[in-house]
Symmetry: C2
């Protein structure tokens, strides 16, 4: 399985995995979602080697998920900020956290709740729904190819 | 960054990444969500080495995401099925596909739509909401520690 071949794969999941699915990248994104912007802070939080961190950050910047920019107009130090594309990973990050809470912790050991800062209301469990509002499970979903005449690509989420 | 240390990490995202975030595992799960159950079919779809595939499958089985069972009562062949824990990854898989569709394809090149088989209605874009129904972006969310007296763990999704 060639990593390079995945980036051009015809499947959105494969392309996403190629860009952000590397071990380490998801944790960098978790930190970025938590507000971390500085190289040294990523390094401290993740305990990852500086070389590997630099590689991962570079890939996320080149992929458009993070933006690297000077801290101030004339500064030599840079910070890493989520781009709109990066911010749009929110549902995935939330899905991953909620799944981990449910399946990899007990109710007593879940470390934290995600809450809406302005109201204190908890973040609702993500649900997959149709545009018509029906709650969907895996068996309800199939892929419909957009290629004219290509028919369906089989049941797949 | 030690992989083993991650599995016991106090963060649900880190634990999830440790279990399913490996390069390859997410693609195996994509195939499983698409209905693939046989070793040879995973192998054919992913073009991954048999050794690596066996390792990844073993980890997913041990982690409780997949179940390995004989095809029939007396069969030597086995199949791999998503457990309830595995099926519960649906929002994450959908989030990843939708993000890939939006950011790694153009509208003309998106290969397929996810649709509700019974109604033909498309799967709606996942939205993060509070229990009170408010649509949330990253800046709206913070983590509230469950440890008594621990206060908040900072803004983080």
């Amino acid at each position: 399985m060639e990593r390079n071949s995945l980036a051009g794969a015809a499947c959105p999941v494969a392309r996403s995995v190629s860009l952000i699915g590397e071990w380490g990248s998801l944790l960098i994104l978790r930190e970025a979602f938590g507000g971390t912007t500085r190289f040294d802070d990523f390094q401290r939080s993740l305990g990852i080697s500086r070389n590997l961190l630099a590689l991962r950050l570079k890939k996320l910047v080149e992929g458009g998920v993070l933006e690297r920019r000077p801290v101030a107009a004339d500064a030599k130090r840079h910070e890493y900020r989520l781009t709109r594309m990066g911010e749009d990973l929110l549902p995935m990050m939330v899905a991953m956290r909620q799944w981990g809470d449910r399946w990899l912790f007990t109710p007593e050991t879940v470390p934290a709740d995600m809450i809406d800062t302005s109201t204190g209301s908890q973040v609702a469990p993500l649900e997959v729904r149709s545009l018509a509002g029906r709650t969907l499970s895996r068996g309800d979903i199939r892929l419909r190819s957009r290629k004219a005449g290509a028919g369906t690509a089989g049941k797949q989420a």
